[in-house]
């Protein structure tokens, strides 16, 4: 319960920093590894996915790749990597504003007694691959725009067409304009219609499943690709595991491996968002732990798990 309480507090602080920090001079830069949405006026930093699409698309021409623009893009990539090294997937579990909105919806669902929709593990694994396809789309879309294959209005395709954060997050700054359908031309109609349909569908799905969009999030995929250099990791001691399955039951992402893994200590799959719920829920002392560069930050214990044994609706 203690870990969950800390996590909730950190999430709310980061929500305020990332959503409103710009109004107070906070600027975490253009390489934030979570949905710090640039469409929110006064945000405290910019999500790296927008910058990534911009640099691949209209930001750099080949002739300038080895000049200032190329160096700047490389600098932002290094900044992103540095931030990921600092917190790893905890950006997803502890800092992402959109993740907090998902958690609020999940909390409301549980209070209302609405049961969670389960997806079979095999289907979940297939769905998890979609996030890598979307990451590829983030790179390919702007290139297609530069080559003239796509209309120039598609210049930041993921943010404009598929990210549910773009219409939803600005609502918390009082901005509703991203919920408008743009009928200026066919391209803007397709873009805004796609964005709004995806947002509506995600909202409904987020009610049924915790952290629904995280399964498809290209930012999670990008952070997972940097896993080899990330010191923060979820580790398991299989010898201490009782096999009760509580870790998988409390996991919002339904990660199977944390329960079924019997040999390796590495149970941080591509879908894991490092929220720590499994560590908080595990009753076996030391079976699961969050470690930073090999040093244990928080570890499971019977005392820590008290209060989490109630079955979820």
């Amino acid at each position: 319960m203690l870990l969950k309480g800390y996590r909730l507090a950190i999430q709310h602080v980061m929500f305020i920093v990332l959503m409103y920090g710009g109004r107070f001079g906070v600027n975490l830069g253009p390489a934030v590894p979570c949905f710090a949405c640039p469409y929110v006026t006064g945000c405290g930093g910019y999500c790296y996915l927008m910058g990534l699409q911009g640099y691949i698309g209209f930001g750099i021409s080949l002739g300038h790749f080895w000049g200032f623009e190329g160096l700047r893009a490389l600098g932002y990539l290094l900044l992103f990597a540095g931030l990921v090294m600092l917190l790893g997937k905890a950006w997803c579990g502890f800092a992402c504003p959109f993740g907090l909105i998902s958690d609020w919806i999940t909390l409301a669902r549980r209070r209302l007694g609405i049961p969670e929709a389960k997806i079979p593990p095999a289907a979940l694994r297939r769905l998890g691959a979609v996030k890598y396809a979307l990451l590829g789309f983030c790179a390919a879309g702007p290139i297609l725009v530069n080559l003239g294959v796509l209309h120039r209005d598609f210049y930041i395709p993921f943010c404009q067409m598929l990210c549910p954060g773009k219409p939803l997050l600005p609502l918390f700054a009082g901005e509703t304009r991203h919920f408008a359908l743009d009928l200026t031309n066919a391209a803007t109609l397709v873009i805004t219609a796609s964005s709004l349909a995806v947002t509506g569908a995600c909202l409904a799905a987020m009610i049924a499943r915790p952290r629904f969009f995280c399964t498809f999030c290209p930012m999670l995929a990008l952070i997972h690709l940097l896993k080899p250099i990330t010191p923060l990791a979820l580790r398991k001691n299989p010898a201490l595991c009782h096999g009760c399955g509580t870790c998988q039951r409390v996991c919002g992402m339904d990660v199977e491996r944390v329960c079924t893994e019997k040999a390796s200590a590495d149970v941080q799959t591509g879908d894991c968002v490092n929220c720590g719920d499994c560590v908080a829920g595990c009753a076996a002392d030391g079976a699961l732990s969050l470690q930073f560069a090999g040093r244990t930050v928080v570890s499971s214990s019977a005392g820590l798990a008290l209060g989490l044994r109630k079955p979820r609706p």
Partner: protein
């Protein structure tokens, strides 16, 4: 149980038809982009000859008089970051401007509005095109195009396309207020523009040097929206600066008058460019020039050049967007309910089968 299942299927099918039909109606209504607001020619009340001071005269003789104007060349960027803008001082009829000279000031974008209000200028440069087409005085780009540490880099090039070319560079986000003058068909005319430069380099402090303003006729230019992104549907106001006596002003382009609405302003005019279907079909970065041409005593002209984008908000429909999002929410929610019902039914059948 089977009857309940049939009823549930019929209900789901009916709801699906209802929502899909409703969505189809909405799409049929909104699939073709809405007609933009009527262009100036069609908007009779807005573009009929307005009875206000400074309004454009009837089409005809005045439009035959050539005017001087700035045209924007292709923007570019130096490898080390500064944005480079190219401006051409040309006559509307293609005749070579004579006795041309220029003057401009570069202002950091953040302080542009404050400086305009105060009437001061942070940095000024002046120069002269010799013979209307020669090399000009003043600072230039260093050999090889490499930048020195100062942020504001100024440069001029010689003749291009029968006109005069001015190259302006800036290492920070800045607005370049540019004035030019030349003889067009023997009459002294002036051209003005404010060009945005998105420079981004590791530069130093801006230069502090100043020179005296030449005191030429010039405009104050303001807009109802953000000046860095002029759009159709926004209202732009031109007022003559102190000492400038202004005659009728009209908005022109190479193809003829620019459709839009005019309104009077004190010693000036307001102009609202009409929405342009060609611009709407292009991307948001596409622009078309607007030359606001004013007649000066003595027959010359004073022209303000700006480039207008399509409107970002004119084609948006918020209620329709919310409706679409709600429809997607409902369809997805329905799908989830159906999916869970099937799972529950399958489990019940299994349990029933086992019990049997």
């Amino acid at each position: 149980m089977a009857r309940l299942h049939r009823c549930r299927r019929r209900l789901c099918a009916s709801l699906a038809v209802f929502w899909l039909g409703g969505a189809g109606l909405l799409c049929a209504d909104g699939w073709v982009p809405a007609e933009p607001p009527p262009s100036g020619a069609a908007a009779a009340p807005g573009c009929a000859a307005p009875a206000v001071a400074g309004a454009p005269s009837a089409p005809g003789g005045d439009e035959a008089q050539p005017y001087l104007r700035w045209e924007y060349g292709s923007p570019s960027r130096h490898r080390d970051g500064p944005a480079v803008a190219e401006l051409h001082l040309v006559a509307s009829d293609g005749s070579p401007p004579e006795d041309a000279s220029w003057f401009y000031q570069l202002l950091p974008l953040a302080s542009y509005r404050e400086v305009l209000r105060a009437g001061d200028a942070a940095v000024m440069r002046a120069g002269r095109f010799e013979g209307g087409a020669g090399e000009a005085e003043g600072g230039g780009l260093a050999a090889g195009g490499l930048q020195d540490p100062s942020i504001f880099r100024l440069g001029e090039e010689g003749r291009a396309r029968g006109g005069c070319r001015l190259v302006v560079a800036s290492g920070i986000y800045a607005m370049a207020d540019v004035l030019g003058t030349a003889l067009v068909r023997g009459r002294r005319s002036y051209a003005q523009t404010a060009m945005l430069l998105f420079g981004d380099s590791l530069g130093g402090e801006p230069p502090v040097s100043n020179s005296v303003s030449p005191g030429w006729p010039s405009y104050n230019f303001s807009g109802s929206g953000e000046l860095y992104w002029p759009q159709t549907g926004h209202t732009f106001t031109l007022t003559a600066r102190e000492g400038t006596i202004l005659g009728p002003v009209r908005a022109l382009r190479d193809t003829g008058p620019v459709p839009g609405e005019y309104a009077g302003a004190e010693n000036g005019i307001s102009f609202t460019p009409a929405h342009d279907p060609e611009l709407s079909a292009e991307s948001s970065s596409a622009t078309k020039p607007v030359y606001l041409v004013g007649r000066l005593p003595g027959g010359g002209t004073l022209t303000y050049t700006f480039y207008v984008h399509r409107s970002r908000t004119a084609g948006t429909d918020l209620p329709l967007g919310i409706l679409l999002s709600a429809a997607a929410f409902a369809v997805t929610g329905l799908g989830i309910i159906v999916y869970r019902s099937r799972g529950r039914l399958a489990r019940e059948r299994e349990a029933g089968g086992l019990a049997a």
